[in-house]
Amino acid sequence: MNPAYLLDNLLNPPLLFFLLGAGAALVRSDLEIPQPFPKILSLYLLFAIGFKGGVELSHSGLGGQTLAVLLSAVAMSLVVPCYVFFLLRGRLGAENAAAVAATYGSISAVTFMTAIAFLETKGVPYGGHMVAAMALMESPAIVAGVLLLRMTTRAGSAAPLPAGGATNGIAWNELLRDSFFNGSVFLLTGSLLIGAATGDRGWEAVRPLTDDLFTGVLCLFLLDLGIVATRRLEAIRKAGLPAVAFALVAPPVHAVVAMVLARLLGLDRGDALLLTILAASASYIAVPAAMRLAVPRANPSIYVTMALALTFPFNIVVGIPLYYSIIQWWWS
């Protein structure tokens, strides 16, 4: 890895605020961002990134390469859960494996945004369709995780019913609502469409909020995530070694797969990094919210801890500069 990138990344305010939050939790400071402000920061970030992506999409349109990227993204979000589920089922149990599968098939919007902030400090361009790719990767992974569980655990077992009333079939209704109409997926997709529809005129109207403030707000959100992720670390012991190992090994592995795809699709460096980070990251917002309802017997101390306390810090501290070094070397 090019050490300059690691340093560059380390001198990025968002990352430093993440570390500040981690430090606060470690020394047991009473610093905290009181609820529900973290939720609001996260809604803001989805609103802002969605709108921005939509506006850029309104410039570039949906060309052939764009469609290929979107398809690859969806494909990854469906394939990853399958292999993860069968890999971990024996060790974590079917419910937990399904939740982890959905978690890693899906993406972390904040990791994506941190990567964008990283690209912007280097002046590397990227396309608005990458935001669309992100929006498209959340729901399929959730559906895949739940279906895998339902298909492999037969009726008669105390299998988790996604619905309160459903007897033994899949409550498709609720499953689709929880995956596609999930609050964060809905806001991201909606903002993307509104951005695409209103284009530059809409952008001018909201830019001071969605663009100018973006990095600053990201700092505050990462400060909170630093606190929360570090507090979650204490649950690691309960998650067990296989879970910990997976949470740290999966990101680089998925990253390499995504880079190969990016190379095949002929993406530029910026888009390549973003596709890589989508593959390498794991969801701790949309997926847990859905899993809590669809697979309530899965233990959130396992799948949220993995995504939030291990994979997320790994990606933003080491992953982004590491992946970018590789892309720089490979693409040149």
């Binding site: 609820q35 964060s184 606190i227 507090r231 847990p288 809590r292």
Partner: protein, 97 residues
């Protein structure tokens, strides 16, 4: 001053729609909900510090007749089994109903 049953339920906040439906089925005359509850129980710590409501509980208070309370416990039990939580029943007198 009528005697009533106080039913208190604590469970995950995301189960709110299901719980309200169960209370409706039980035919209770009213309920009060307090959100943003933290807690600890068999399923570990819920810190209510997430950016989603995943680790958040809610507290629900229902004042109702003994028969309604009976029906509430029946309707609520599967929810508690799926999502965790507690349901307490105690006695009180009410100056309105």
């Amino acid at each position: 001053m009528d005697p009533v049953k106080r039913v208190e339920i604590v469970t995950v906040a995301v189960a709110k729609p299901r719980l309200l439906e169960a209370l409706e089925r039980a035919g209770v005359p009213g309920y009060t909900i307090l959100r943003a509850a933290e807690g600890y129980g068999d399923r570990g710590r819920r810190m209510a510090d997430e950016v989603t409501a995943v680790f958040e509980n809610m507290y629900v208070l229902v004042a109702c007749s003994p028969e309604q309370a009976e029906r509430v416990t029946v309707a609520v039990r599967p929810i508690l089994e799926r999502f965790g939580g507690i349901c307490l029943i105690s006695d009180a007198t009410s100056i309105k109903h």
